[in-house]
Amino acid sequence: MKRTYLGEFEEVVLLTVAILGEGAYGIAITDELDRQTGRNVSISAVHAALHRLEEKGMLSSKMGDATAERGGRRKRLFSVTVLGSKTLQEVREQRNRLWDSISPQTLPALGI
């Protein structure tokens, strides 16, 4: 079966949404990404990725609360769908399989 392709940035964003749980929306995701990976990404890039993931069915969203600092505008809260979590799992298993298949001492040693 052809698996939906997940880009690296998409994967990171999807994982961040999972980390944040209930409170995953644009700014929070951007900040969390910054904190977790040290990547300084633009809001638009995150929005684009979220949008794409939602189109692929890996994220679902609903409108949340409005706050004053947003000028009374509501947040769009994202959560990982079943398809999303399955895809994440598959990616992880695949990585694990790949790691397992590497024979010891093949990779140059890092320090000790």
């Binding site: 929306y25 644009g26 700014i27 633009s42 809001i43 638009s44 890039a45 929005h47 684009a48 949008h51 794409r52 409108m63 409005a66 706050t67 600092e69 947003r70 000028g71 505008r73 509501r74 947040k75 769009r76």
Partner: protein, 888 residues
């Protein structure tokens, strides 16, 4: 307020961002902005905000969300076929309404098309010359005695000015002068060695530089140096064919002039006169390097007077004519200042763009050919637009009135999912269809009526669509504009119906649309009434001018042209011979007979005065019989006798007044003209009663009449039953005395009427348009009456059953239609009163607008409209109520 992100960036975002994403995106950006503001301050926060907004310009944010409903495909062929089918079914089913619509639009389109053809033909004069935009004609304005009204505003100028301009102004590349010499006399043309001649007076004497300024396409010879040598001539193709037939004309010799002083000229070229439209339209061009008048013009050094030649200058590219105009006063002052002061004359010379000559020459006299006027074209275009508007209004009224019939169709279409825009498209398409049908009908009609229409406008237009793509373009444009204008309101109105109310049967007429319909009828009839009053007032003024006492007897006067010196020498002998005819009562000789412009004038002063304080008085020359022949009374002094010379003069009443003399004391005094040693004195021997020599449009001018026994025209006072035998006798006597010149004569009253040809053309045109406007308005009224009668059949049935008479029902229905017509009368009357008063102001001697014009127009329009609706109202009133009421 600083805690707000930049407005423009927000607007930009709102503009490009897809609506379904806008809220979250904007919210996130605001949230980020607030944090940046707290952390880094306003400046950085704002910059960051802008940057973030800009970074959102990417496909996902731009892309609009598709709606969850599927959009029906508007242009599917099946639907278009359906629209066409419905349109044709409607046309065929309601034959009466369709033909009213099509007839109205066709008539309007015929008018519109012809006028557009005519107007288009009037544009584009003199564009075919190379560098046409750099060619200018000198225009002369002369003021006398510090007056503020120009006495003389002419397309001609003194011959010395143009060559001096070329010498002194580096901007002037080339000049050429054109002299309208051959119009002065009846000019005969013939081939040397042959006796046949014909008259042509459209020849010009021109500088050898003529073809350096103007572009002509040569059929024979070449333009370069063609007119350098004296006594050379370049012919138009038309004239060359007349003279030589199919033979080559080049290097042949022709005779030009009257038989006594014929000049022989050598043909050096032939040009195609069908190429381009020009204000000059010459039939042949003679080199100004020849002797006679050419020599006089070339050697003329007069700076003030002698403004008799057309001068053209060609400027360097991109030179502003204003910069040359600004230098003209200094030039005139430098060379002609002394002479102008001597003459008491203020003169200015300005450049007139050559392309403007044909359409923008209002008020400029002495034109080389017939010129048009842009304001006349605007009048025509306005009338055409109004006619077409009336036709469109008919369409709008009939279509909206009948809308109830199509309401169900609209309801059903909307119920099964048609959008309003689709319906608008459908109804607009239908009106376009009708507009194109009427265009197809109008084109052959225009072609058919072309000779008649050309006679109205005095032109020779042709309709050749296959060769003239711009005419096709205009035609299609007219059709599109008409369809749009006529269809847009009905389309919007029809498509606005609510399907629920229509299909439930609770649909009612929108009262606003009824008011609008009435308003449009008022508008139509206002136009028709304005036109009717216009026609009446123009006719009244023409009648007034025809019957106005001009101060002389114009009936049964024949004017014979003594076209050259040969004929003039024989004047006395001719007169004596002719007077033996019992039908000829009197004969008078004259230089400028009534209806002709006085071309000569002089500044005259009484004893003790000087020329710069003189009065500009026109000069005429008559013999002793003139005043008696025309029945002009002498109110003081005596008539001329053959013993008098040029120095005996008779003044007109007006000139006596202008010179500050009195009728009683004028006789026996002397008047003078000239300066220094060059003063000429004239003995006043009489004063004649005022008579109107020129058009009634102009103020009467002061005239001083001299004596001559060799006048240019001969006026015969005849009393004849049979003009044919009279002219046979006159011709016999003429042939005996002057065998070399053909006899040419005209009737004085006809010549007088020719002065008003412009007004007559206007009357003819407005007459036709009025008829059309009335016809169209009535068509519309007829359609509306038909519709109303149909709508109210039940009501009429009930009324009849309850005892209403036919008369009362007819009155009831007619009243409804009379009201808008009466309102139109009230609106149109002051409008036309104002407009016609303005028109009448163009005449010095004028009639009044008069209440009877309004009365006649009012009665006419009411009668016509009553007559129009009466057929329908009577028909409705006469129907047996049983037939209308039994169905329910």
């Amino acid at each position: 307020m600083q805690n707000h992100p930049p407005r423009w960036a927000e607007r930009l975002l709102e503009f490009f961002c897809a609506p379904h994403l806008l809220e979250e995106v904007q919210g996130d950006l605001h949230e980020r902005y607030q944090r940046q503001l707290a952390l880094f301050g306003a400046k950085i926060a704002r910059r960051q905000y802008v940057w973030n907004v800009l970074s959102f310009i990417r496909p996902f944010a731009l892309k609009r969300k598709s709606t969850s409903y599927s959009i029906p495909f508007i242009y599917s062929p099946i639907m278009i076929l359906n629209y066409l089918k419905i349109a044709f079914r409607n046309l065929v089913r309601h034959k009466m309404f369709s033909s009213l619509n099509i007839l109205g639009l066709t008539v309007g389109t015929v008018c519109c098309l012809y006028i557009l053809l005519y107007v288009k033909d009037q544009f584009g004069y003199d564009n075919h010359h190379k560098d046409a935009e750099n060619i200018y004609r000198l225009q002369t304005n002369i003021l006398h005695n510090g007056g503020d009204q120009p006495m003389f505003n002419s397309g001609t100028s003194s011959p010395i000015i143009a060559p001096t301009m070329k010498k002194d102004f580096p901007e002037v590349v080339e000049y050429t002068r054109v002299l309208n010499f051959f119009t002065a006399k009846n000019n005969l043309l013939g081939v040397e060695g042959k006796t046949e001649t014909f008259i042509d007076d459209k020849g010009f004497l021109v500088d050898s530089t003529f073809f350096n300024v103007f572009t002509y396409q040569f059929v024979e010879g070449a333009p370069e140096h063609s007119l350098d040598a004296p006594y050379t001539v370049v012919l138009s193709k038309t004239i060359a064919e007349k003279l030589f037939g199919q033979e080559k004309a080049i290097n042949k010799r022709i005779k030009v002039g009257n038989n006594l002083n014929t000049t022989t000229l050598t043909v050096t070229g032939v040009y195609d006169d069908s190429f381009g439209k020009s204000h000059l339209r010459p039939s042949f061009l003679v080199s100004l390097n020849s002797g006679g008048l050419g020599e006089f013009a070339r050697n003329n050094t007069e700076w003030g007077g002698n403004n008799f030649i057309y001068s053209y200058v060609k400027l360097k590219p991109n030179v502003n004519p204003e910069s040359v105009n600004a230098k003209m006063p200094a030039l005139l002052q430098r060379y002609g200042g002394k002479r102008l002061a001597e003459l008491g004359m203020k003169k200015s010379v300005v450049l007139q763009k050559m392309a403007d000559i044909h359409l923008y020459s209002k008020g400029i006299t002495n034109q080389a050919g017939k010129v048009s006027d842009i304001s006349f074209l605007y009048i025509l275009l306005t009338i055409a637009a109004f006619i077409q508007l009336i036709a469109c209004i008919n369409f709008v009224n009939l279509t909206t009135a009948r809308s109830v019939r199509r309401a169900k169709e609209v309801g059903v279409r909307k119920a099964v999912g048609a959008f309003r825009s689709v319906l608008i498209g459908q109804f607009l398409g239908e009106s376009m269809l009708i507009a194109f049908i009427s265009i197809f009908l109008a084109l052959p009609i225009v072609k058919l009526l072309l000779p008649f229409l050309n006679s109205l406008t005095d032109s020779t237009l042709a309709l050749n669509i296959t060769q003239n793509l711009d005419i096709l373009f205009i035609t299609v444009l007219v059709a599109l504009a008409t369809g749009l204008l006529a269809g847009i309101y009905p389309a919007i109105y029809l498509s606005s119906f609510k399907p629920v109310s229509v299909l439930k049967g609770t649909f009612k007429f929108n009262p606003a649309s009824v008011v609008l319909r009435k308003g449009l009828v008022v508008f139509q009839f206002s136009i028709a009434i304005v036109l009717i009053i216009g026609v009446l007032v123009i006719s009244k003024q023409l009648d007034f001018m025809q019957n106005k006492d001009l101060g002389f007897d114009k009936k049964q006067k024949v004017v014979v042209s003594l076209s050259n010196e040969n004929a003039q020498k024989h004047f006395t002998a001719l007169k004596n011979e002719l007077l033996t005819q019992h039908q000829i009562k009197n004969i008078g000789g004259v230089r400028y007979y009534p209806s002709q412009q006085f071309l000569q004038d002089m500044l005259v002063f009484k004893s003790g005065g000087t020329m710069d304080k003189g009065v500009l008085i026109k000069n005429n020359v008559v013999d002793e019989g003139f005043f008696k022949t025309l029945g002009i009374k002498l109110i003081a002094g005596r008539n001329f006798t053959p013993a008098d010379t040029n120095n005996q003069v008779i003044l007109s009443e007006k000139s006596v007044k202008d010179l500050n003399l009195t009728v009683e004391t004028a006789v026996g005094t002397q008047v003078f003209t000239g300066t220094g040693d060059n003063i000429e004195a004239y003995n006043v021997i009489g004063v004649h009663k005022a008579y109107i020599n020129n058009s009634l449009k102009d103020e009467m001018t002061p005239v001083m009449t001299h004596y001559s026994a060799q006048p240019e025209y001969m006026v015969l006072d005849v009393q004849a039953e049979n003009y044919e035998s009279l002219f046979a006798n006159v011709e016999k006597i003429w042939k005996k005395l002057i065998p070399t010149v053909p006899l040419q004569y005209s009737f004085l009253d006809e010549d007088l009427q020719k002065q008003y040809s412009e007004e007559k053309t206007l009357r003819k045109i407005i007459n036709s348009f009025t008829l059309i406007a009335i016809l169209l308005s009535c068509l519309g009224l007829f359609g509306l009456a038909m519709f109303t009668a149909e709508q109210r059949t039940k009501e009429i049935g009930v009324r009849k059953v309850l005892g209403a008479s036919v008369v009362s029902i007819t009155t009831l229905l007619s009243k409804e239609f009379l009201k808008p017509v009466l309102i139109a009368l009230i609106i149109a009357s002051p409008l036309s009163y104002y407009a016609m008063n303005k028109w009448l102001e163009g005449f010095v001697y004028r009639t009044e607008v008069g209440w009877e014009s309004f009365a006649v127009a009012g009665i006419a329009i009411v009668t016509i409209s009553l007559f129009t609706v009466s057929y329908q109202t009577l028909k409705a009133a006469l129907v047996n109520p049983v037939t209308t009421l039994k169905s329910e």
